[in-house]
Symmetry: C2
Subunit: 113 residues, 2 copies
DNA sequence: CACTATACATCGATTGTCAAGGTATGAAGT
DNA sequence: ACTTCATACCTTGACAATCGATGTATAGTG
């Protein structure tokens, strides 16, 4: 199913931070990782990804370093300690958010049936 | 917890449609209903709610009718058949979306631990 | 020689939401 | 009488996340 883009606003940065927490990654790899993990639901646009990475870096949640492999330059990102704390906070926020939506949808469903 | 507003983008219309599907409601009542059902996580701003209602009505997902009770005018909204179909579609979309986010976050968590 | 994949990046437009403001009635407190 | 709060509708300008398009560059494939 094609997901309404508006839904994923605000959760993309969380997913990016989350996959980088697992291991250092570069941009293109992040897109493929999220694409695979979500089973093709999320395929991040470059105009979405790079601003997210730059903002996370500017906020001190990520570090960046360059590597050259087979004539291709890659910018790897590493999560910081501050980033891990923020990730934990945003995960909790996501849980609360998705749980609250389920409550609203669920309460309506009960009354319908 | 205070939820990041960006997260709820795109899900507000779904929640509004969902509670109206249960019973006809007017604006102020919709805000209170979602507020209660979500346990104070979602308190819709009027600048958020009314544009949503007007758009849903324009798209034929809702009908509106006026009532006067105790000198207060209320604009009630009723879901249409088209609206019920669209609600089912958006519910499925929400399930797919939230499930996909969980997969991305969950796969990262496995590798961390 | 064109096309695809990899790999970085920026820019203008779109969209949902917010904060603030506007109009009005009824009830409660001072 | 006056203020404040709750109810009840609405609009407007600004903001922030995302998108689509575009740009640069290298490597491999047809």
């Amino acid at each position: 199913m094609r997901i309404n883009k508006e839904l994923s606003k605000g959760s993309n940065a969380l997913m990016v931070l989350s996959v980088i927490a697992r291991q250092d990654m570069y941009g293109y790899q992040i897109v493929r990782t999220i694409e695979n993990a979500s089973e093709d639901v999320f395929v991040l646009n470059e105009g979405t990804l790079y601003p997210i990475l730059h903002t996370l870096e500017q906020n001190g949640l990520l570090d960046a370093y360059w590597c050259e492999v087979d004539g291709r330059r890659r910018k790897y990102y590493r999560i910081t300690e501050k980033g891990r704390k923020e990730l934990a906070r945003r995960r909790a926020e996501w849980d609360e958010f998705s749980g609250a939506v389920s409550k609203v949808l669920g309460s309506a469903e009960l009354a319908e049936g």
